[in-house]
Subunit: 470 residues, 2 copies
């Protein structure tokens, strides 16, 4: 967790350093300056440009640079700024930067960070580099990092910081304030709640720091504490984020299986989790595996080609449906012209229903108590969509192909209504089923939905046409 | 802003009230109990079930109920719990609930809320109800709400709370603590940073409350304060969220055009904004206008049909391309069977590139300094995707239609590579162009991208076939 220090957008006289625009985004002009200095190998100029930046801005800058320029910047970054920048970097870029930092420099840098941030960096090191770096650290820091890495990835244990401010339940406000004054150095750099614990170190309540400040010294903590919601150390980070978001929490105590206080999670880490989960959902719906600015072309292709290949297979399946009706198409070529319309609308309506359902599952607005109602609502929506769109395309088609057979309009209208019902069904049931089976409802849903609407779109349209028109 | 009080998951002996599972989600069994009590008109039982819930859980419960059951629950909810629940409700449900609450009850309830929450509720009232409610409130509360509503929707002014803890820059730690003790009642219920202001009330720094607590009383604030990032009162909430996320802020001061402190934004409101913006992006990419659990079927259809209608129009455009090649298809029906494959893969690859680009724009990872690089990277990815997939479909097609003309395999392979380049181009340039023109890059991008890949997919495949095969 960082303190909320940050550079103010710099005043006009300081024109040399105008790195950020009024929205705190790096200006292209500043990025250009860094690129020029890196190209010239002008290390002093580079350091001058970088040293006043906030670590988050350095990380941002790295994302805008090429790998070659990042190497030069890494070399000239002041060591303490490098340390604070590491946890802010995109995964791909962090791995690349870490390969270039000598392990002794790294061991020193990591001691400056909170245990959760240091662990996140060590996690990304290659096995042999990790061993060297940990060996070069003091015992206490090494133990903290190893304990953090002992928890499952994406668990509260990995997310928490071990530093907490705890107070025994028999203390009063004055005792607590005196303790904070005396122990200042060993406490977390920033904290928002004081956790009140029983003799077994189990949290029994929490007191916001601002409340402590405004309450008379003689008041017992037990009189001003609120109930706290405890986070289990093995709880998934997505669930932790849900709890923070729902109850507007700023921090929460983490407990082990015996209920003892072992750390705390703070809201600034949660904001990152929320963005990460949202990013995953939105990319997975589009069939993109995780990629970021640091990903190489071959990494990106490896992440995207599998979905395109699956899509190719399902498209061939759809095509073979068309193959069954070769004879019908040979007689009425208009059908070949019109059939993509039926499948396109079905695919889009299915994707709408799918996206709404995936989102409702992600925010836990949808569960077994309202799933049937949601399903029927989507069926009604599909029916209503059909009743609006089918007449449009039906009449247009009837006029378009009047000379051949106006009844093609009837066929396409009926096919569209039926395929919109297929779309609603598969759009809702696919993510619900995946979720029930404990799979991520966003993964592979979209391919399955459009494959189904293509398949049935072609089948219904060409099938009806064969029956009605031939 | 709420304090972080919340119900603990209830112990076993209290089985009557087990509303939440271990992840703090309402259990279907509890929802069922509420529905039964509402059906029986058993108001006392209903109140017993509800009164111990956290407002966020009541809001959640409302989302799982039908409108009829919500009406009964609203009637039996204790007034103070109703007040705190209102800001937590989905927009659609809040409007529905507000219609059922008498304006005197509402005027009383709103006085319990912070100014930003109260304003958010009043905003949703019908004009005549709004006037009645405001007229029934004390002057000071009314003024606060009216001032908040005077700022633009989605601006920092609307988001902020007016209550802040400010301290003159010549105070020391002891002065500040004594002031908090003395003025307790007039300060915000919770605060995380103390803003240090100059004689013109302009923020010059910030001190986290925990740092105040651990610093000796004689230390001047100016020695321990950090620079703060100021939020302009008219700044868009999306920009405010970006700043909070980037710099891991817990709270930030809001200033007017003269630089004077007028309020503060806290991170718990930002978490909601981030979720709202993510929700908008993900739904807009799928062509769904804003809808939530409270939306009626007709509202949902009105939000979705326009996109389907636009999609219908573009599908007709694609179909007319096929129409140009009626003669070719009549001679080689295999083309009708294969053409949806080319357009499907193009559409999917385009959507991948589009989604990645929209996401990068939303998180400001993409701007004019790396746009050309991003474009070329996507072109390389498109080319690589093509080189992987085209041989697959080319060879498969050559065997499939060996008896007719194996060169169809060559044609489909070439068409696929070309259409993947079209997909990469349009997938990146569409959102970049919309963003440059200050439009939301998520809106209507997907329809345009798939329309383009359909159009060119058909044109390239059927065109090449006409030239090569006839």
């Amino acid at each position: 967790m960082n303190s909320n220090t940050m550079p103010l957008p710099v005043a006009d006289e300081d024109i040399e350093h105008v790195a950020l625009d009024e929205d705190y985004v790096l200006t292209p002009a500043f990025v250009e300056k860094v690129v020029d200095a890196a190209d010239d190998g002008d290390g002093l100029k580079l350091r001058g440009l970088l040293e006043d930046l906030h670590p988050a801005d350095v990380a941002d800058l790295m994302g805008f640079l090429t790998a070659e320029h990042r190497a030069v910047v890494t070399l000239w970054l002041p060591p303490d700024l490098l340390a604070e920048t590491l946890p802010e970097l995109d995964d791909g870029i962090r791995e690349e930067v870490l390969e270039r930092v000598p392990h002794l420099t790294l061991a020193e840098a990591l001691q400056e960070l909170d245990s959760d941030d240091a662990a996140a960096v060590v996690e990304d090191l290659e096995q042999d580099q990790r061993e060297k770096v940990l060996a070069a650290m003091p015992e206490v820091d090494r133990a903290a990092i190893e304990s953090s890495l002992g928890y499952a990835e994406d668990s509260a244990g990995r997310l928490m910081q071990r530093e907490v401010m705890a107070a025994p339940q028999f203390w009063n406000v004055g005792d607590t304030i005196d303790h904070v004054r005396a122990q200042g150095e060993e406490l977390p750099e920033l904290f928002f709640d004081i956790y009140v614990v029983d003799p077994l170190n189990r949290p029994v309540g929490g007191v916001p720091v601002s409340r402590l400040l405004r309450t008379p010294r003689a008041t017992p903590l037990s009189e001003i504490m609120d109930p706290v919601n405890e986070i289990a150390v093995d709880q998934d980070q997505e669930e932790v984020a849900y709890i923070f978001e729902k109850y507007h929490l700023i921090s929460a105590p983490v407990i082990d299986s015996a209920g003892r206080l072992v750390g705390q999670v703070t809201v600034d880490d949660i904001v990152n989790i929320i963005q990460e989960e949202n990013r995953e959902d939105i990319l997975r719906l589009a069939g993109v595996a995780d990629e970021d600015r640091g990903s190489s072309v071959s990494e990106i292709v490896r992440g995207r080609v599998p979905w395109l290949a699956i899509n190719l297979a399902t498209a061939v399946l759809g095509a073979s449906v068309i193959g069954w009706f070769e004879g019908t198409i040979q007689e009425i070529v208009a059908l070949a012209i019109l059939m993509p319309i039926v499948s396109a609308i079905g695919g889009n309506a299915g994707t709408q229903a799918l996206t709404v359902t995936v989102r409702a599952l992600a925010t836990r607005e949808l569960n077994s108590s309202n799933a049937p109602r949601t399903f029927w609502r989507e069926m009604l929506v599909g029916m209503a969509n059909g009743l609006v769109l089918a007449p449009l395309i039906g009449v247009a088609t009837a006029f378009w192909f009047w000379d051949e057979d106006w009844r093609i309009g009837l066929v396409i209208a009926a096919a569209m209504v039926l395929n919109l019902l297929v779309a609603a069904t598969v759009g809702v049931l696919t993510p619900l089923t995946l979720s029930r089976l404990k799979f991520d409802p966003a993964v592979s849903s979209a391919v399955f939905v459009t494959a189904t609407t293509d398949f049935f779109g072609f089948l219904i349209f060409l099938g009806l046409a064969t029956v009605v028109l031939l």
